[in-house]
C-alpha cells in the first residue's frame, strides 16, 4: 500500500496531464466555493451592494426566514412526505427487486424496461399527465397526491439499487433455510431482511435525499398545505421583490445543510461508486 501511495505521488509531480486535470478540478471548486460562499455570506450580511463584502454581519435573517415562511410546518410536511415515500417504496420495491434479481420468467425483460422508464424520463413528461389524473381523482393538492407522485421514480430506484445487493447473497443460504422448512415469508424475515439491512438502509437514504430534493413532481401536485421545502423555496425566490434576498438565501442555506447531513449519513452506509459495478478495491 505504501508503494502504491508513493508511485501515485511521483506521477502527480511528473505528468503535465495530471497538473492540467487537477488544475481544472481546482478551478471548478474555486468557482463552486464562490457560488456557495456568496450565498452564505449574503445570508449573514446586512447591506451588500458594490463591495467585496457586506457592510456588516447579522444572524437576524435566519429568524426572519423561519417566521416569514412558516418553516416549521413546511419541514413537517417534507418529513412526512419523504418518510412515507421511503417506507412505501422499500415495502414495494424490495420484494420486486428480489424476484427480478433471482428469477427468470417470461416477460422479465419487459417488466425491467417498465421499471427503468420512470428513471429514464424527465419528471415533467409523466408529471403533467400524472398530476391531471391525480386531480381527476381528488388526490392532488393533498399530502397523498404528493406522496403518490413521488413514488413513481422512487420505487424503480429502490429496485435498481437493491438488485446488486441481492445478487451478492448466496442463494445456497436460502435453499438451506427452505430445506429446514422455512416458508417464503420466513425466508424473507429471518434470512434476507438481516442480510439486506445495509442495502435497504442505503436505498432508503438515497430515496430520502432524492425525495427531499425532488422539485418537479411535488411542484406539479402540491397544494398550499402540502408543499415541501424545495417547492416553498422556489415560490419564495420566484416571487422576488416581496421577500428580502437575504432571507431567501438563509432558507437556501437551511435546506442545503439539511441535505448535507442526509448525504453524509448516506455516505457512511454506502460507497457511492459501488452502486453501479461491484468494485474490488483490494485488487492492487
Amino acid at each position: 500500500m505504501a508503494t502504491t501511495g508513493g508511485s501515485t505521488r511521483r506521477r502527480f509531480v511528473a505528468s503535465p496531464g495530471a497538473w492540467l486535470v487537477w488544475g481544472a478540478v481546482v478551478f471548478f471548486f474555486v468557482n463552486l466555493a464562490g457560488v456557495i460562499g456568496s450565498v452564505l455570506v449574503n445570508s449573514f450580511g446586512t447591506r451588500w451592494f458594490d463591495t467585496w463584502l457586506p457592510q456588516g454581519f447579522t444572524t437576524t435573517w435566519y429568524g426572519t426566514a423561519w417566521r416569514e415562511f412558516g418553516l416549521l410546518p413546511v419541514l413537517v410536511v417534507t418529513l412526512e412526505v419523504s418518510l412515507l415515500v421511503v417506507g412505501i417504496s422499500v415495502l414495494i420495491g424490495v420484494p420486486a427487486a428480489y424476484v427480478l434479481a433471482r428469477r427468470s420468467f417470461p416477460g422479465r425483460r419487459l417488466l425491467y424496461l417498465l421499471f427503468l422508464l420512470p428513471i429514464l424520463m424527465p419528471p415533467i413528461t409523466y408529471g403533467i399527465p400524472l398530476a391531471t389524473v391525480l386531480y381527476k381523482y381528488g388526490f392532488a393538492g393533498h399530502l397523498s397526491g404528493v406522496v403518490l407522485a413521488n413514488l413513481v421514480p422512487s420505487v424503480p430506484f429502490v429496485i435498481l439499487t437493491m438488485t446488486p445487493f441481492i445478487e451478492q447473497i448466496d442463494p445456497a443460504i436460502e435453499r438451506a433455510a427452505r430445506m429446514c422448512g422455512a416458508r417464503t415469508g420466513q425466508v424473507f424475515v429471518r434470512i434476507l431482511a438481516p442480510l439486506l439491512t445495509p442495502g435497504i438502509l442505503a436505498a432508503s437514504i438515497l430515496v430520502l435525499v432524492r425525495t427531499v430534493g425532488m422539485f418537479e413532481l411535488t411542484f406539479l401536485t402540491a397544494g398550499p398545505d402540502s408543499q415541501t421545502l424545495v417547492v416553498a423555496l422556489y415560490y419564495s425566490m420566484s416571487a422576488a421583490g416581496i421577500r428580502a434576498q437575504q432571507s431567501v438565501d438563509a432558507m437556501a442555506v437551511i435546506y442545503t445543510s439539511m441535505m448535507l447531513v442526509l448525504l453524509v449519513v448516506a455516505l457512511r452506509f454506502v460507497n457511492p461508486t459501488q452502486l453501479v459495478a461491484r468494485v474490488r478495491e483490494d485488487i492492487d
Binding site: V155, M237, T256, L260
Partner: protein
C-alpha cells in the same frame, strides 16, 4: 387413482408446466410493484397521450399541428437541446480524466469523493441564488475580472443561456463523475498493466483498452446526465431568461397546463418532450449496442 384426485392432478400438471418456465407463486411478490407501475406510470401516461389527441379544436392532431405551427412553441425543442446536449457532453467528458486520476487508492480519496458529491445537496435554489450572487455584475467573479484588468465591463453571465448552463453543470457533474468513476473502477487494472508490459504507451493503453471498455458505461452516464439536463425547469426560470433565450420545453408544458389550463396542449408538449428525449437516448444506446458489452473484470470474466 380415485376420481376425486383426477382434477387436482390436472391442476398440478399445469402448475408444473408453468413452474418449468419459471412461473410460480413467488412471482406474486412482483405484483405490488407491477400494479404500482401500471396505475401510477403507464395509465397516466396513456391518459396523457389520449388527451393530446383530444384538443378543443383542430381535430385529432390539432394540438400537435398548433405546437409545430407556432415558432414560440416549436423552438423550445431546439432551445432545450442546445442547452442539455452540450452540458451533458461536457459533464461526461470532464469526468473521464478526473476519474482516471482517481482510480486506485491514495490518501484523501474518500474526502475528495465526498467533496465532489457535495453539489448534489445544493438544490436548485441555492445554486440559482449563488450563481446570481457570484456571477452577477457586482459579484465576486466580475469583481475579480475587473480588478485584474481582464475586462473593462462586467461579463454578463446571468439571466441568459450561460447562467442555466452553469447551473446544469454544477448539478450534473458530481452525478456524472460518480457514475464514470464506478464504471472505471470496475475495469481491471491488470489489463492495462499487461498492455504496458507489451510496450504500449499511455495514449495507446487508454485508446485501445480503457476507452473501449469504458464506452458502454459512458453511454449510460451520458443518457442519465442528459435526462437531468433535459428536464431543467426551475433553474431555467430562476437564472435564465424564461421568456426568450432559455424558454425550455418544460416551461412551455408548465405554462400550457397551469397558466392556460389547456390540458390537451400540455399533454401534447409532455408527449413530444418524451419522444425527443427518448430519440436521443435510443440513438446513444443504439450506438452503444455496437460496442463491447462483456465483462470488464478481465481474467476469467
Amino acid at each position: 387413482m380415485t376420481p376425486k384426485d383426477q382434477n387436482p392432478t390436472v391442476r398440478v400438471a399445469l402448475r408444473h408446466r408453468l413452474a418449468e418456465r419459471g412461473v410460480d407463486r413467488q412471482l406474486l411478490l412482483l405484483a405490488p410493484a407491477a400494479l404500482f407501475v401500471l396505475v401510477l406510470f403507464v395509465y397516466p401516461f396513456l391518459y396523457g397521450v389520449g388527451l393530446s389527441f383530444q384538443p378543443a379544436r383542430g381535430g385529432v392532431f390539432g394540438a400537435y399541428r398548433e405546437f409545430f405551427a407556432d415558432p414560440y412553441q416549436r423552438d423550445t425543442i431546439w432551445i432545450t437541446l442546445r442547452l442539455s446536449l452540450p452540458a451533458a457532453l461536457l459533464n461526461v467528458a470532464a469526468s473521464v480524466p478526473i476519474a482516471y486520476r482517481m482510480r486506485g487508492r491514495f490518501r484523501g480519496k474518500r474526502l475528495l469523493t465526498t467533496v465532489l458529491v457535495v453539489p448534489i445537496t445544493l438544490g436548485t435554489v441555492l445554486t440559482a441564488q449563488g450563481l446570481l450572487n457570484f456571477l452577477g455584475p457586482t459579484g465576486w467573479f466580475n469583481r475579480l475580472l475587473l480588478a485584474t484588468g481582464l475586462t473593462d465591463d462586467p461579463v454578463r453571465l446571468t439571466y441568459n443561456y450561460w447562467g442555466v448552463f452553469f447551473s446544469i453543470v454544477i448539478t450534473g457533474f458530481p452525478f456524472a463523475f460518480l457514475l464514470v468513476l464506478s464504471y472505471l473502477s470496475g475495469i481491471d487494472p491488470a489489463l492495462e498493466r499487461a498492455a504496458a508490459t507489451l510496450g504500449a504507451g499511455w495514449v495507446q493503453r487508454f485508446r485501445r483498452i480503457t476507452l473501449p471498455l469504458l464506452a458502454p458505461g459512458l453511454a449510460t452516464t451520458f443518457c442519465l446526465t442528459f435526462v437531468l439536463a433535459f428536464s431543467v425547469f426551475p433553474s431555467a426560470v430562476l437564472v435564465g431568461d424564461p421568456a426568450g433565450e432559455t424558454r425550455v420545453i418544460s416551461i412551455a408544458a408548465y405554462e400550457a397546463a397551469y397558466l392556460r389550463y389547456d390540458y390537451p396542449m400540455a399533454a401534447t408538449i409532455a408527449v413530444l418532450m418524451g419522444v425527443v428525449e427518448l430519440l436521443v437516448i435510443a440513438a446513444v444506446l443504439g450506438w452503444r449496442s455496437l460496442l463491447y458489452t462483456g465483462s470488464t473484470a478481465g481474467g476469467k470474466g
